[in-house]
Symmetry: C2
Subunit: 412 residues, 2 copies
């Protein structure tokens, strides 16, 4: 047994989250793509079967009240809340991340423009230029529909461009490509100092590290639930609106589910109080209740323990890659500093498409991002240190076979 | 056996759709609430189990390509298309109805305002004042974000208010409350004559009667899938954009799933061609593939046969109610004329909340709408004529017990 394999064994033996792995359906594959689609929690299939066969099939419409369907968006939001450092009553589940970005960003612009005027005429939305594309596209739409201009800048340049014209700022907590963790507390404070409102996209951080929404005074946030929260393919996203902003939150999607009296079927729109003001239409029950079952794996799991293991996993992966891959074989895009690292490692290499194809063939599943990035996500609840050592070892084998001059490929 | 019960038996014996009932999970309840939540198709539980256990649990991210997850929105759209009289390539599934109303209505206003100017400055959205509330609320938001004013009018008054200022008109095909069927061909023609664009909400018509979107030149349409299409609680809605308008369709929700090259992760937004321009974020796979399984019940079912049975069911219900309920016992809100009737019967009665509570207790499930409406939906695929006779008979019993002066009640 190699020295690193022995080290992996020791790390696994002292891993306080190791038992969590049994709560997921896993095989002998090393699954490092939980930052794209989390693995299936064991509790989900039975719950979904109950929802379909009994709640829908037998109780039918009675389940809207008796089965707790109607209140699922805010109930499940409260289950996510502690994972992002939010007190209850501020998170609501539903719709896709993109749709929630529109709600949050238009909402933020409206918060920045008080109804009775006064103060500067804020007409600019600042967006992370390195962001996941959908955030930029939706921010462009939000700008267009609120009469703002869109200003894309690198996150590090954000503080320098803030001013009297800034209405809202949309930032990613962790960059989907490089795995870089941005400084949420200081960027939030900078946005507030300029009198503007910030929206954080937590897709690549929630469930992997502490977010501290309440602690840092974040205004609005969105996130998906199918990565580190393991909610299933395309499971509904969530929206956080800080409690003291809820009364002024003015959604661009005022659907009947967010009405103060939804079954009053009133012609005039009167928004509900609280998190459920972020609801829109009828909640997608099958996916939503699958997510609720998936969230049970978090019972008794402190987010700090998850973060500690996440950093240990990525540290160990870098150590193994350095040991197994000859110098210069790959370039690491992910920062070395813990304070700047999410829960993934991104390696750049010509021929990355082919490298990933061969890795997957040999039971190491990460993903490929155009044009030349290998992404490896480390989900602390089910990835172990022996997995990490194996992944790095197989990666070294594959890199030795695939010439570095191969052009990047488009996945099928 | 009463005369009407004998008639019901004969009607059931000659019902060419009678065998379809076996494709649904039903019990001895008379389920007349399929216009709220369709019954569970037998094919769904097994399909959902496969999606959860094998596609998600075992194949994980491979299912995005190998399992057909990525193309599900347009594939399932094509399955709905014939039910609403649309050729393939014009319907896409995803998001809630409310979200799709926003897409369609903002898209319609933008179609009405050519990029290069010219023509009248259209700044008015006309909306059915009797519409399901969410449509009115979202129309208000669309108006606000496109610089339009909202003009709510009764559908019959729509032609009289159309003019050079009209940008878009949002109409319900069948009124959710009264069951009135509006004249889609003539209202569409009137909107077009004014140079404006029409959006039809098909929630209460699709799957119950022919819609003829292509035939009547409808511009855009939206609908839910959990009523007559039996997709399950909160299953994703759909958006229709007529083929020749797709290249100009300019969505307020340009998420990455509608990009011409979604995995290019490009900073600039270039919309995809075709129906999938109406996509937004990652599709909600569990609910979407449950819907796909549910749509299999439509194989070989002509919509004209569904309409014929629907009218026969509602005619027979009215006949039974007239026979069993003393004159003046209830007021029918649904038009008698076939051309003006959807697939539900709405009866007005003081104490409707209590009446419905007792009906449900005795195995006849309809629903109650504020303040005094009893709604009975007739799903031709699984409701039979004996069900109808029994419903009317039990209704007469309950009406005899519940005093008409009881005030309307709010449901629990």
């Amino acid at each position: 047994m190699s020295e690193l394999a022995t080290k992996a064994e020791k790390l696994d033996a002292s891993d306080e989250l190791a038992a969590k792995r049994a709560e997921f359906v896993l095989d002998d594959v090393v699954y490092l793509d939980g930052n794209s689609l989390g693995a299936l929690p064991v509790a989900v299939p039975g719950r979904v079967e109950d929802v379909v066969r009994r709640q829908w099939g037998e109780l039918r419409i009675r389940s809207w009240t008796e089965g707790g369907w109607w209140t699922a968006p805010e109930r499940i939001g409260d289950r996510i809340a502690p994972l992002v450092g939010a007190a209850a009553g501020q998170v609501v589940v539903g719709d896709s991340t993109s749709v929630n970005v529109l709600k949050a960003l238009v909402g933020a612009v409206r918060l920045a423009r008080p109804a009775h005027g006064g103060g500067p005429a804020r007409d600019e939305i600042v967006v992370d230029a390195t962001t996941f594309p959908t955030d930029g596209y939706i921010a462009g739409s939000a700008a267009r529909m609120t009469g703002c201009t869109l200003r894309p800048v690198a996150p590090s340049d954000v503080p320098g461009v803030l001013g009297d014209r800034t209405a809202a700022v949309l930032l990613n907590h962790v960059d989907y490509r490089t795995g870089r963790l941005h400084d949420l507390p200081s960027l939030t404070a900078a946005v507030h100092a300029a009198g503007a409102y910030v929206v954080w996209d937590l897709c690549h951080s929630a469930g992997a590290l502490p977010v501290g929404l309440d602690e840092h005074g974040v205004d609005l946030a969105v996130g998906c639930t199918y990565k580190y929260l393991n909610g299933g393919p395309g499971s509904p996203a969530y929206l956080y609106v800080r409690a003291d902003l809820q009364d002024r939150f003015d959604s661009p999607l005022p659907g009947w589910n967010s009405h103060a009296e939804p079954f009053g079927m009133r012609e005039d729109y009167e928004p509900a109080a609280g998190a459920l003001r972020g609801r829109v239409g009828t909640p997608d029950i099958l996916s939503m209740l699958a997510l609720e079952a998936a969230l049970e794996v978090w019972d008794g799991v402190p987010v700090d323990a998850v973060r500690a293991k996440s950093l240990a996993l990525t540290d160990f992966f870098l150590e193994c890659v350095e040991a197994y891959v000859p110098a210069g074989g790959v370039e690491c895009l992910t920062p070395r500093a813990h304070a700047e690292r999410g829960s993934q490692i991104a390696l750049r290499r010509a021929g990355a498409g082919e490298v990933m194809r061969r890795l997957i063939e040999r039971g190491v599943v990460g993903d490929f991002r155009q044009p030349d990035v290998l992404r490896f996500g480390f989900t602390p609840l089910y990835v172990g240190f022996a997995d990490v050592e194996r992944a790095a070892r197989v990666l070294a084998e594959v890199l030795a076979e695939v010439p570095a001059e191969v052009p990047a490929e488009v996945p099928a």
